[in-house]
Amino acid sequence: MDDEVHPTEVPDLVRRARDGDASAWEALYRRSYPRLLAYARRRLPGGEEAQDAVSEAMVRAVKGIHRFRSEGAGFDAWLYGILRHVVLDAQGGKRKESSDPVPETVDHAPLPLDRMLHQEEAGALRAAYGRLGPDDQEVLDLRVIAGLPAEDAARVLGRRAGAVRMAQSRALGRLRSLLEEETAGGV
């Protein structure tokens, strides 16, 4: 899980993983898993296919760790680059978005009023986000779901950081318009 490994510990874990330390690999896997799975689920319908993609990406990472260079983009960007290719392979080279709606964060606890309002807003945001085009979603997925900085997202997409920032700004502009439509529609 994200909180179990502090970001400053990642370089050391990567160094140990490079030396074949299975426990370091496991720690990296557990740390990245929720975001990797959420990213894969956005692109592959059905939970199993997304899980398989994440598992395959990790196996490829193990085999390719000797090609990873820590300078430049970080380990996460490298990992998402691998996962992106695995997902594209699973899609048969065609880009398509999951037909599933954007999943909600599951929470069965009773909701106070302010939390309920937040949940409503989150629902409207998810609905608006689901209506964005695939290019917009891909940029925002890397920034928001994967949590990558613009430079690392650019590395994953094979673009320049400035181009990614521009694309992100345009995507957010479109999202804002869609969100207004969603809220005006009484969501």
């Binding site: 896997y29 898993y33 975001r35 994440v54 990790m58 945001l125 986000y129 928001v144 700004s169 957010l172």
Partner: protein
């Protein structure tokens, strides 16, 4: 990034926050298997191929440099790109043309000198300013000598160094100026002029 963009990103992050999930036992087991399999791959095989290839390539280039043998163009291009102390292909070509012209002039062979002059001019044009000046110190006197050699023949006047060679048929006449042209005949002079213009744009052909 505009603050409204930052705000929307934060809200989006909250709305799309990933579920707190962990990999299954099967997934962890698959990872451990991959790590174990990778550990059985000898590290030497993973790391050495590129380094070994680069080392072998550098050794081969150095061997050629030390032996003084002519270096194939691809090897020279690769060595130059690697930063080894060899001339670029263009500089090497220009130097080769200078040597060729020198030999032709030493032999007093007007036809060869004319061909070599034309080739040398072409290769000088392909060089950057610095290389051209550096090689020009040696090539300019040779081109002048070649021009004088040609000028002593039926052509009305010899071109200045670096200028295009004379074009078109020229009536033959006896040698007049340079003593170095005494061995040339009018027949070879015409052939030489034709060869000299090879590689330059002929105004008559336009």
């Amino acid at each position: 990034m505009a603050s409204e963009d930052e705000d929307l990103l934060r809200r989006l992050e909250h709305a799309l926050r990933p579920e707190e999930v962990e990999p299954s036992e099967a997934e962890i087991a698959a990872l451990h298997r991959a790590v174990a399999e990778d550990a059985t791959t000898p590290a030497v095989r993973r790391v050495w191929p590129r380094r070994a290839l680069a080392g072998v390539a550098a050794a081969a280039v150095l061997t050629v440099i030390v032996s003084g043998a002519p270096m194939p163009r691809p090897v020279r291009a690769a060595a130059h790109a690697l930063g080894l102390p060899v001339d670029s292909v263009k500089v090497a070509d220009a130097k080769s043309a200078v040597n060729e012209l020198q030999r032709a002039l030493d032999d007093g062979d007007e036809e060869r000198a004319a061909r070599a002059s034309a080739r040398l001019r072409q290769r000088l044009e392909a060089l950057g300013e610095g290389d051209r000046q550096r090689i020009g110190r040696r090539s300019d006197p040779l081109l002048q000598r070649a021009g004088a050699l040609r000028g002593s023949q039926p052509a009305p006047e010899g071109p200045p160094p670096g200028a295009p060679a004379p074009r078109g048929p020229v009536p033959s006449r006896p040698p007049t100026t340079s003593p170095s042209t005494n061995r040339s005949s009018t027949t070879t002079s015409t052939t030489a002029r034709t060869a000299t213009t090879r590689g330059t744009t002929s105004s008559t052909s336009r």
